[in-house]
Amino acid sequence: MSVLAYLIPISLCLGIVGLIAFLWSLKSGQYEDLDGAAERVLFDDDDRP
């Protein structure tokens, strides 16, 4: 059972990493223009936001 002592913290940490990644992507405006992003992937030239 001692295995839980580190498995639970690990699972929670991984969840939190995912959550933070989502919140970061939200804040950096990655959901502002979903249609545009779908088209921009086809552009050849360097297209940095």
Binding site: G15, L26, K27, D33, D35
Partner: protein
């Protein structure tokens, strides 16, 4: 990427009433973003594909002073950052050169766009927490030992507490706000349920109890946030679509400063006595008097008059009218806050204050629901106290009653239906600004229409073009191309692509307020007012109540053209559909009796009033409301704005004046007036589904409540019951789009008119 062909740059096409944003206006509407940069937002309705993104971004990046241009394809929007030190870059002109019509969009800090990100963040956090707590709960339910159970409960509590503070604050804040004002809303029972569930579970965890409801508390918050977020998302979409429309009131005007120098002054700084220059195509910013110049004014938005008005020096102008043909110098007679537009805003506020506050159906339901549930919980507490005498047991059961009846399904019942309904309407080009509008639309029994710009397109059209001699029509169109007068544009549109050679003119001149004159060899052609074009006036005087323009050769009448304001496509079907539903239909117009009567007769509307002033429109609606009628007002003009604000529910076309668009609950973007019955149909269906959802939620409560009162509800049962009822309600809501598989189609007759109308509407944007 065929859509990226530049718009045909025909000479007639540039005659749209679009305002080229001057550099000064661009500066005024931009905002500083630091580092010596300013950012301007432009709405470009023509962006359709990836090719457009590249074309626009490359073209704009090449302009001097532009640091960055970024296209948002979803919002059909371009934001441009430029250096403050340079003059504002000619962005609108550059976009026009590559075939995109653009206009300045609001980019002030006043735009409230924080609600949606806040909700999404709260929902993400609640979703994360409910997933993790549910994992721990499942292991507890599947029989973890006492030590393990306590540990898991503690971990759950540690996750739940910050999440409830962060994600739950949206409900707590709203519930507190309602309670402080002595009202209740849906958030009050939600907050009480969540807080009690958490408090009880925490107590049990400390006390090593077997049951904890952390999962129920967090899941409840998560489910409800999904509903809220979707709701806000739809509203945001509608709001940005409406905000993306061109602003019709000017931000400022060019004022004379001293001898022959001109400066662009913001609207607030215009004082009475200032001399302003109003170019053709601009709107009059404040009330004023013409000092010099002659022109024609389009008063449709202001007074509802369909025929353009000719003005000469000395004429009084109202703010908001559109200068059509020639430049005018006017002397401001009132500051912006005393002008006609401001007067309308004041009337609107008065009308809004007089309108009885509408309580959302969810709040009305919760007013009945919360006392029943709360007294039920209290009763079961006392019942168990008397029966068993065990305080802890009694509290646990009371909390279980609250959780099982917590209005999860009720909280989702309304938003889910409205989200689905709003999406359906969005697909048909109808923006729902507020879910409450959908509820109110379902209650109406009277529809009041404005005439000019609402029942009609507000753009003169040649009557009976088939009767006109094609040669004369071609000649008239060749002359008309040189004028911005609406009759000229009507002639050009009527001529369209029809063949018919016109003689090459040696010289063409527009006489503002009169017409166009051209000479071809020895002949002199005139197109315009009969008393000017004809040597012997009265020769071609058509005994018509319709405005008339004549074509003359050397002072002799060649042809007389009469115009009318075409009925909006679908108006007939719309009015018939409304009447079939048993609604009273009425016209309130500021126009003269003649045209109003003609339109009323054509559409079969018996009840109409002409020459109604803006205040009287609002008064008429107040009178209808006093009779107990629930009125839908459909209007577009500045003069309709007070009426829109005082009506039970209101709709405006996208071509409406700014204040009207922001006052209306619905804005429809397509030309056809069938938007009105369609919206009504959807709202009625939505109302029916909402009631069904309430019935389902009530049924579920009626079944679950006895078990809870008798103490059979464990956290596992609560979680299952809650999820099941929520899924049921959501599934029922989606039936709205399934059931309406057959798309609402107006009769196909009038397709051509609709296309013309679409072009006309585009010209206004």
């Amino acid at each position: 990427m065929s859509c990226c062909l530049p718009a045909a740059a025909a000479p007639g096409a540039s005659h749209g009433a679009s305002l080229a944003a001057s550099g000064d206006e661009t500066r005024l509407a931009s905002r500083a973003i630091g580092e010596g940069l300013r950012q301007s937002e432009f709405s470009v309705p023509g962006i359709r594909c990836g090719g457009c993104i590249r074309t626009i971004e490359h073209a704009l990046a090449r302009i001097d002073g532009v640091v960055e241009a970024r296209v948002n394809l979803t919002a059909k929007h371009v934001s441009v950052r430029w250096r403050e030190t340079c003059a504002p870059p000619p962005i609108v002109e550059t976009l026009a050169a590559i075939g995109y019509r653009a206009h300045l969009a609001e980019s002030g800090p006043g735009r409230d766009d924080r609600a949606l990100p806040e909700l999404v963040r709260a929902m993400a956090v609640a979703g994360f927490a409910s997933g993790n707590i549910m994992l721990l709960s499942v292991s507890v339910w599947s029989g973890a030992g006492a030590d393990m159970r306590d540990l898991f409960h503690w971990i759950s509590a540690a996750i739940a507490l910050p999440v409830l503070v962060y994600s739950g604050r949206i409900f707590f804040r709203s519930a507190w706000g309602a309670l402080r004002h002595g009202r209740t809303n849906m958030d009050v029972p939600i907050s009480i349920g969540v807080l009690l569930a958490f408090g009880m579970s925490l107590y049990d965890t400390i006390d090593h109890g077997p049951h904890a409801y952390f999962d129920a508390a967090v899941m409840l918050v998560f489910f409800l946030l999904i509903g809220r977020t979707l709701d806000e998302f739809m509203r945001e979409k509608a709001r940005s679509a409406v905000n993306g429309l061109a602003r019709l009131s000017p931000r400022g005007a060019t004022a004379e400063r001293g001898e022959g120098t001109w400066a662009y002054v913001p609207l607030e700084e215009i004082a009475p006595g200032m001399v302003l220059l109003i170019a053709a195509g601009e709107r009059v910013p404040v009330d004023g008097r013409v000092v010099s110049g002659t022109s024609d004014l389009d008063c449709a938005l202001v007074t509802g008059e369909s025929a353009p008005r000719a003005v000469t020096p000395g004429a009084e102008l109202q703010a908001g009218t559109l200068n059509l043909t020639g430049p005018l110098r006017i002397e401001a007679t009132a500051a912006a806050e005393d002008s006609f537009l401001a007067e309308m805003v004041r009337l609107m506020q008065a009308a809004e204050a007089g309108r009885s506050a509408y309580r959302r159906i969810a709040d009305r339901a919760s007013r009945l629901y919360a006392p029943v549930v709360h007294s039920m919980a209290l009763l079961s507490f006392f019942g168990w106290m008397i029966a068993a005498g065990d305080l802890h047991r009694a509290v646990t059961i009371a909390v279980a009653v609250l959780i099982i009846t917590c209005p999860c399904a009720l909280g989702l019942a309304v938003p889910m239906v409205q989200v689905v309904a709003a999406r359906r309407l969005f697909e048909q080009g109808i923006m729902v600004k507020d879910g409450g509008g959908l509820e109110r639309l379902g209650e109406i029994d009277t529809v009041v229409f404005d005439k000019t710009g609402t029942l009609t397109l507000g753009r003169p059209r040649l009557r009976d073009p088939g009767l006109a001699d094609p040669a004369h029509l071609a000649l008239a169109a060749a002359l008309a191309v040189h004028s911005r007068h609406p009759h000229s544009r009507g002639l050009v549109a009527a001529h369209g692509t029809r063949s018919g050679a016109a003689p090459p003119f040696d010289r063409v001149a527009e006489h503002l307020g009169y017409g166009v004159e051209a000479s071809a060899g020895p002949d002199l052609f005139r197109l315009g007012r009969p008393d000017w074009a004809l040597a012997t006036p009265g020769e071609g005087a058509a005994p018509s109540r319709h405005p008339c323009t004549v074509l003359a050769k050397n002072g002799r009448l060649l042809a007389a053209f009469t115009f009318d304001d075409p009925i909006r496509p679908g108006a007939r079907e719309a009015v018939d559909a409304l009447k079939r539903r048993g609604l009273a239909v009425e016209i309130l117009s500021g126009d003269h009796t003649g045209p109003v009567e003609a339109v009323a007769h054509e559409l079969g509307i018996a009840c109409f009033r002409a020459g109604v002033r803006p205040g009287d429109k609002a008064a008429r609606l107040a009178a209808l409301a006093a009779e107990g009628r629930k009125v839908l007002m459909v209007g577009d003009g500045l003069n309709d704005a007070p009426a829109l604000a005082s009506a039970h529910v209101s709709m405006a076309p996208a071509s409406a004046a700014d204040v009207g668009r922001s006052a209306a609950d619905f804005v429809f973007f397509r030309d056809s007036l069938t938007a009105v019955p369609l919206a009504l149909q959807v709202s009625l269906r939505a109302g029916r589904l909402t009631r069904q959802n309430f019935a389902l939620a009530f049924l579920y409560n009626a079944v679950a409540l006895p078990f809870a009162v008798l103490g059979f509800v464990t956290p596992l049962v609560a979680a299952l019951a809650m999820s099941a009822s929520s899924i049921l309600v959501v599934a029922n809501a989606t039936r709205l789009s399934l059931g309406m598989g057959a798309r609402y189609r107006p009769a196909t007759k009038g397709t051509r008119v609709r296309r013309q109308g679409a072009a006309a509407l585009e010209a206004t944007q």
